[in-house]
Symmetry: C2
């Protein structure tokens, strides 16, 4: 496991294309060193990329991710900068927790749907046929 990576090594490792990495660089999310013209990614760049991709997976835009990474990069910020960063991070945490609730509700709903299907499959095996199966029985019509 080496200490530097070429663009396609890194791309392959994370399942993205070299084009994507260049794009992230264009947007200020990465800034790999160069050997001549070629990009040379460090472990640090690699860790950054991991953060970027996870950020994407949880639904942040590249712009938002760039902001957060810039906050991470504060080496020796002013107190106000630090406080700003703190506020933003806490806001992100709150947003993520809200999103987690959404996800948990979706999971619960899908579980209900699965139960419903399983029940109707077993009922069907008992020759009880010919009535509605899913419909909106699993869909809340009032609770929003």
């Amino acid at each position: 496991m080496s200490d530097t990576f070429t663009i396609s090594q890194l791309a392959a490792e994370f399942g993205v294309t070299p084009r994507a990495l260049r794009f992230y660089e264009d947007r200020g999310l990465l800034a790999p060193a160069r050997r001549g013209q070629a990009r040379l990614y460090s472990r640090r760049d690699r860790a950054r990329l991991a953060l970027i991709l996870r950020g994407k997976r949880v639904g942040f835009s590249l712009t938002e991710i760039a902001e957060m990474l810039n906050l991470y990069d504060l080496e020796d910020g002013q107190e106000t900068q630090l406080r700003t960063a703190l506020g933003k991070f806490r806001a992100q945490i709150a947003a993520l927790e809200a999103q987690r609730r959404d996800i948990e509700e979706s999971i619960a709903e899908l579980h209900r749907a699965c139960d419903f299907i399983e029940t109707s499959l077993s009922e069907r095996r008992e020759r009880v046929v010919g009535r509605p199966v899913i419909g909106y029985a699993v869909m809340p019509t009032d609770r929003v």
Copy 2:
């Protein structure tokens, strides 16, 4: 609380624009009744919209949401259809659980960052100044 809604009532209630609702209809996600030309949304449409928006919030594309809603709409499907739906729902559950893990890791990381900032703010108040604050101390360089 009435039983039917106009397009802008519903849009306002859910914080989207009428344009979006028409768009969802265009993509087959909604199919409100008409009074003349005007759309007339039922409670059922409203519940569907809630599902659509939550689906969006958790990162599904409109196409994916349409598929899932169509699965929900199976009234009296064939056994194979039911089994297919079951498989897809279970896959979605797995995907959502993976996403929840991502979110939890992001939350944990943001918490670490917050702790770090808080510590360096208090250290700063103790007149210990002039050294790096965040940097990549909070960023994993090896664990991916």
